[in-house]
């Protein structure tokens, strides 16, 4: 059924292509049909080592960014509608093709990989404070966590989840920290605005009784 749906889809696209191709040239480039654009964008995302931005794809193919945005949105629906084992997703301000979490057991069995080491609670809490309060200094983190976190900071730096963001112009000029692109990737975030608001946790925290 999905095959048939796909076939009609392709037909429809090629029709559109046929209709729009005559004389419709942009800046002297051969116009690339939507179906081909989609294929090229998909291939580029496939070969990219890290999430590739729509801007980059648009620049390479030399079409408008808006067109790429639309093509990518189509691709996402396509992947989803045919229950693909892959997903096209937006992460760390770019696009990426990845497996779906549902199949992790089989994928892991094939890769013979074990779940990687988790962060300790101390590191996670420190990371949470940094993510929401960035740029933030060590004394400010101490104020919220109520406990020193030097080893947590070191772990997070080692794992490249946080990066130094200059010094704060205050007594002692302490180093300020913020989250990195790696943080977005490891926590599956498009950007920092995708983090739930810290105030949303208020209800959880306050609703004690």
């Amino acid at each position: 059924m999905s095959k048939a749906a796909k076939a009609t889809n392709v037909e429809a696209q090629s029709e559109v292509e046929l209709q729009s191709s005559p004389g419709d040239e942009i800046e002297g480039h051969r116009e690339i049909g939507d179906a081909e654009l989609k294929a090229i964008a998909e291939a580029m995302i496939f070969v990219a080592d890290e999430p590739v931005s729509a801007r980059t794809i648009a620049d390479v193919i030399k079409v408008d960014r808006e067109i790429i945005d639309k093509v990518l949105a189509d691709l996402v629906t396509e992947y989803d509608s045919r229950n693909s084992g892959l997903q096209l997703r937006e992460i760390a301000a770019g696009w990426q093709i990845a497996t779906r979490p549902e199949h992790h057991e089989q994928i892991r069995a094939y890769l013979k990989s074990r779940p990687s080491a988790k962060l300790s609670l101390a590191s996670l809490e420190t990371l949470a404070v940094i993510a929401y309060k960035q740029p933030v200094t060590v004394p400010e983190i101490l104020e919220i966590r109520g406990v020193q976190s030097p080893s947590a900071i070191k772990t997070l730096l080692d794992k490249r989840l946080i990066i130094a963001k200059g010094r704060k112009e205050t007594v002692g000029r302490p180093m300020m920290y913020g989250t990195s692109k790696e943080f977005l990737i490891q926590f599956g975030l498009k950007d920092l605005t995708e983090l739930p608001s810290i105030e949303d946790f208020q209800d959880l925290a306050g609703g004690g009784e």
Partner: protein, 285 residues
């Protein structure tokens, strides 16, 4: 995974059913446990991953099932201090942060006991516990945020991207002919030679040995051309040692240096004490 399952199994052991709220503060193995051991007074303590005074305080508040906005400060302070004692008895290093919090609790407790000054400014009319409550709530918010991050990371670890594609960067292809191979082989041979030379250098003779050598040569031949002596040095370093040993023997008046003509060969001879004094006399003139 282990952390999680431990927590899951530990929860029912708590006896008193944990409220919803207590579940919200649970991040991995964050909850310490105190369980009374039968009818004895002994307590079984499982220290979780909790580490700060705020964590301990939150835990006690949940344990006592009291309203965080209306903390019975005397009770909680007592509990807190009891816990600190336990930690000390167990030889756990009680960090300074815990003691600071104890002091703060006692201060709040004492302020609660004092009647409020009716003439005080509005600011001072605030509940003495307010600041502490705010800190606790703030702390708990970030614990919840940490939990959110934890679950996100767990999902993310179940997502895989493709393995690295071979590119020139990570696997430069080898495009070489027979002659390239020969050249490389020669380079390797050359490098090998250098290594051998280095080994010889390491066996260089010491200053004392060099002095002995010169002394023996002068003694056996009566007279030694310094060019011959230096010529035996196999390396620059050995040459320097040889030169220094000549200087040393001259200084100790064991040998004297004689040059029969300008730019002629310099000969080393056994120095008689007389000669030595003559020489020094000459040099002063």
């Amino acid at each position: 995974m282990e952390d999680n399952s431990q927590t899951e199994t530990a929860t029912p052991a708590l006896g008193e059913a944990p409220t919803e709220a207590s579940q919200t503060i649970r991040v991995a193995n964050s909850r310490p446990e105190i369980t009374p051991d039968g009818d004895t007074d002994q307590l079984k303590i499982t220290l979780g991953d909790f580490e700060g005074p705020l964590d301990l305080l939150l835990y006690l508040i949940r344990q006592e099932q009291v309203n965080i906005y209306d903390i019975p400060i005397a009770r909680i302070t007592d509990e807190y201090l009891r816990y600190l004692n336990l930690m000390q008895e167990l030889d756990l290093t009680v960090a300074g942060d815990f003691l600071v919090m104890a002091a703060q609790l006692i201060e709040v407790k004492s302020r609660m006991l004092l009647p409020r000054d009716p003439l005080a400014e509005e600011e001072e009319m605030l509940d003495p516990r307010a600041e502490l409550v705010n800190r606790l709530l703030e702390h708990e918010k970030f614990k919840a945020a940490a939990e959110m991050l934890w679950s996100r990371a767990t999902v993310e670890r179940a997502v895989f991207t493709r393995a690295e594609i071979e590119t020139d960067k990570n696997n430069p292809e080898v495009v070489v002919g027979l002659f390239d191979l020969l050249r490389v082989f020669q380079e390797i041979l050359a490098r090998h030679k250098e290594e051998i030379l280095l080994e010889i250098e390491r066996e260089e003779i010491s200053m004392a040995e060099m002095i002995d050598r010169l002394r023996n040569m002068v003694r056996s031949a009566g007279e030694v051309n310094l060019m011959t002596f230096f010529g035996r040095a196999k390396s620059r370093r050995e040459l320097v040692v040889a030169f220094l040993s000549v200087l040393e023997l001259v200084r100790m008046s064991e040998i004297s240096l004689v040059q029969s003509e300008t730019f002629g060969a310099i000969m080393a001879r056994t120095a008689s004490p007389v000669e030595a004094s003559e020489m020094s006399a000459e040099s002063t003139q």
